[in-house]
Chain length 212, copies 2
DNA sequence: CACGCGATGTTCACAGCGTCAACATTAGAG
DNA sequence: CTCTAATGTTGACGCTGTGAACATCGCGTG
């Protein structure tokens, strides 16, 4: 088994190792710590090695951001999976879980959230598979999936799906931003949880109509 | 008039000049161009001169962000001032103007918006007077003012003002984020305008009830 | 099985960045 | 008028991202 070499010249899967190192750095010290040299240092490799896998530091950061997005998708999926079995097929509950999961990830993991959702100045990546969770869907796709299910069930006009998606994401993402660095920052955690739950339910009611 | 010296050793009001230079740089090349050396260069001064007015580059950036916030407040005030005289005292219209102005500034001036609203990793500044427009109110204050007026008039329970503020800002700020760098980026401008107008009116209706 | 070429990683170098310490200039208080 | 504190400059340091040249190695070809 030659794989156990202390420092094999060829790493094996350096790209993945760099992204992992970058994400770790982001969680530990915040997005601004994700520097090319710091990442390669943590991966135990020379700085320029990164250039075999990324054109520049921005692409490295984008990849790290994708990983954070995937983690967010995982939390959302977990919230959906945690629904009582009887509710797991209800679009309203799926949608609520998307919002709750989104906010929970942001509040539990501010550095991760900022890494995935701020910082990357062009995130056209919201639909790329790298940002997906275990279920293979990105956070934005989980949202539109829930809305599409609601439309299929008739609780939402089909041609309102996309504007409803804008509505939902705007509210929830905006809330997370405000809670992390806006005027709400500093509010006690249970306060933010309560505000967030209320916001999500209001938004869902606004989109699907009042709960039955 | 000794003030007309070509390069007086003492600048006069370097702090303001630096903030102005930084804001110009941000508008021209984006927030990431606001670097200490670039700003001092544009102001025609040595790099370390900035340290007589800012403890570090982050504080310089924060000051530039405040200026952008002030510009945003100005646009909102202009939208309110542009209301037909008969509507200018209606809380509903004032509130709508806040949302429309916010979105208009973001779409018209993406670099300015990003400078003021992203980037600065801790913006506890939302209430500081430096972020105010000509009217002396920050964007967030213009929002809460409009909501307070609505409450005073009875169209909103007084104890809902703060949660309504969260609602409104979340939606509008989230929308601007999505439009500038999220999945909506790339959409045609008139599309974004239409989506934004619709969103603002829906949000206002959600907060104050359907339009009379 | 040997070879060699392309992929991957390293070394060295450079310019730009933020910041500190030491120094220069000047406005304004006494 | 003088001295001091405020303000601006110079020079240096270690950090950053990145390019060019070189080293090592896996793997497909002969």
């Amino acid at each position: 088994m030659p794989e156990a070499r202390a420092h094999p010249y060829h790493h094996g899967d350096l790209r993945a190792a760099l992204v992992r190192a970058g994400y770790g750095l982001a969680l530990d010290e915040g997005p601004q710590a994700v520097t090319l040299r710091a990442v390669t240092r943590r991966a135990g490799v020379s700085p320029t090695a990164a250039y075999r896998h990324f054109a520049n530091v921005d692409q490295l950061r984008a990849a790290v951001g994708m990983r954070a997005l995937g983690a967010l998708a995982g939390v959302i999926e977990a919230h959906q999976a945690a629904l009582p079995a009887a509710h797991r097929a209800r679009p309203r509950d799926l949608l609520t879980a998307v919002g709750d999961g989104y906010i929970a990830y942001a509040l539990d993991n501010p550095n991760g959230f900022r890494t995935g959702l701020f910082g990357l100045l062009d995130m056209g990546h919201a639909e790329l598979p790298e940002g997906a969770g275990d279920g293979g869907r990105t956070p934005f796709q989980l949202l539109t999936d829930a809305l599409a299910a609601a439309a299929a069930q008739g609780s939402l006009p089909p041609d309102s799906v996309s504007s409803a998606a804008v509505h939902c994401w705007s509210s929830v993402h905006g809330f997370a931003s405000l809670a992390l660095l806006g005027p709400l920052r500093g509010q006690a955690r249970h306060e933010l949880d309560a505000l967030g739950r209320r916001l999500v339910r209001d938004v869902v009611a606004g989109v699907l109509g009042p709960a039955s």
